[in-house]
């Protein structure tokens, strides 16, 4: 599907175009974002996947004018964000990781004033707010003070608010963190609907593998400020080898075993977490029995997983993505 939208993108500017972007918060600090390149086409749902501290939120901050990059080019819908942040903001909608709604206002007022900031008339802002609240199933919550909302309702309100001014690119920072499974599914549905209905590009960060897999047309896997791979979830899974992820649960931590496993032919990354060892096995037939034999009587439990974004992530980073 994303290939189709890329074709459209040739005629129109990319929704997001980052080149050689670097962010260092202090002169002696390591690069939080370390020379990344990213292009997102119109109508694409794009995921930044990585553990906490990988540089995802900083990347979103840079694209949305709130973090000043140390170096690099940042273009959103054809506008240079560093040179013209106020112009770029007109085309950007942002849902931040935490509830940053205006606590002094009601739900409806948050949307209404957002519309007024973007130059809407009183009448249009009220009408658009009512439409959005209804479409997110919170039409009856307009007069509720924001402080009284549950986490799921607050997130929906944030999303509705970010959409008030018809942004061309929507940035969602960890949109489903802290939500219950139902709210998460509902938010995924909303994002898909938005792309279909409004044709906007959606850039989201997540540390949930299944979110990236279920929702995103393309995923960039980030670690330590760098993009390790950027492709469709299908390609990432395929290219990380036709391997499997073997998870060994031992009776006790056994660092020596990890070393032995690393020595086996056909074993890729080995990730140790106390008494749990995750072994990325790449392709060689019959290697799993070897692994089991090495573990011997220490082995308490064994799980073998088919290729997934998670196995790909471990193959790429050498560690598991455990939030």
């Amino acid at each position: 599907m994303w290939q189709h939208t890329t074709v459209t993108a040739e005629a129109q500017p990319l929704s997001l175009d980052l080149r050689d972007v670097v962010k260092r918060y202090a002169p002696d600090a390591p690069n939080a974002v370390d020379g990344i390149d990213l292009r997102v086409a119109r109508g694409e749902i794009f995921g930044l996947l990585g553990p906490n501290g990988a540089g995802k939120t900083t990347t979103i901050g840079i694209a949305t004018t709130r973090v000043r990059p140390t170096a690099g080019t940042v273009i959103v819908t054809g506008i240079d964000v560093r040179a013209h942040p106020s112009v770029a903001k007109r085309h950007i909608g942002v849902v931040t990781q935490f509830n940053t709604l205006d606590r002094a206002c009601t739900v409806e007022e948050n949307l209404y004033f957002h519309g007024r900031f973007f130059g809407m008339s009183r009448h249009i802002a009220h009408a658009r707010a009512a439409d959005l609240l209804a479409s997110f199933g919170i039409g009856d919550r307009g007069r509720t003070m924001v402080a009284d909302l549950s986490g799921g309702l607050a997130r929906r309100t944030q999303l509705a608010c970010a959409l008030m001014h018809h942004p061309e690119v929507l940035f969602l920072d960890e949109p489903t963190t802290g939500l219950d499974p139902q709210s998460r599914m509902a938010l995924w549905d909303s994002v898909r609907t938005l792309r279909e209905a409004e044709g906007m590009a959606v850039v989201l960060t997540t540390h949930y593998i299944e979110e990236a897999d279920a929702l995103c047309d393309r995923v960039a896997v980030m670690n330590n400020g760098k993009i390790l791979v950027c492709d469709t979830p299908e390609h990432i899974k395929r290219d990380s080898g036709d391997g499997v992820l073997v998870t060994l649960r031992l009776r006790d931590a056994n660092p020596g075993l990890a070393e032995q496993l690393r020595g086996l032919a056909g074993v890729g990354a080995v990730d140790v977490d106390h008494a749990t060892i995750r072994v990325h096995v790449t392709g060689t037939d019959g290697i799993v029995p070897h692994v089991v034999a090495l573990a011997g009587a220490d082995l308490r439990d064994l799980a073998v997983a088919e290729p997934s974004l998670e196995t790909a992530f471990i193959a790429l980073t050498g560690r598991a993505l455990v939030p």
Partner: protein, 277 residues
Amino acid sequence: MTTLSIGRGPGRAGIYARAFWGLMLRDARVLAREFIPFLLRTIMNPLLFTFVFTYVFPKIGAGITPGGATGVSFATVIAPGLVAVAIFFQGIAAVALPLATELGGTREIEDRVMAPLPVGMVALEKVVWSSFQSIIAAAAVLPMVLLVSAEPVSVSVASWPMLIATVLLAALVAGYLGLVIGTVVKPKQIGLIFSLVVVPVTFLGCTYYPWAQLGSIRWLQIFTLINPLVYVSEGLRTALTPAIPHMPVGAVIVALVIQVAGFGALGTWLFMRRVID
């Protein structure tokens, strides 16, 4: 049509102006919801001060007679001073109190920072709005002093230009000072800062005595010159109670203009640093 014009060059000023207006509307809505507490907060301190010192004291034979050969009542001396305090602390509170919260734990300033105007204008809007609140506070306090005092209060507008200039500059100084405090101080410490700043600045701000009369305590007279409130009190004395000795008009205006520029530059710079990494 709800779609926006996305033209870049022309119309940009208009887009900024509409965003700025939107921010003002938001603040107006919040103030409207809190208007009674706002008025009570503004009036309570000067009301009690006026009541005790210009009503109770004279009635119980403990009235204060100002020094010097001016022959005016104590109420006349403090009337401009109380208006100055109202402008000043309403202005500081109107910016600093909400801002410390909005920039602190909740980061609820985020949506306004993402409004389509330069971030410095978000700070400017807060100061403009607080100036408006300062002016309401001044307008509420002055008639109250006249009403409550048991002594004659000889207040009349001797110079409208001086009154308007002092009130506007004082409101801006207060707003920008609030911006500095609100960006630097953590929400938890804001109460402490208020007692550490408000109390000394009020008592040493020439609110209850004219600056000229401090001549007999020379070191204090010089020391108070670092207090921004002194120039507000003295400016209002010039405009409202010219019979009382006051600072030269030029000195008041120059000092206030320098403070607006200084606190303005500092506060805006601090605000930008807090909202953009």
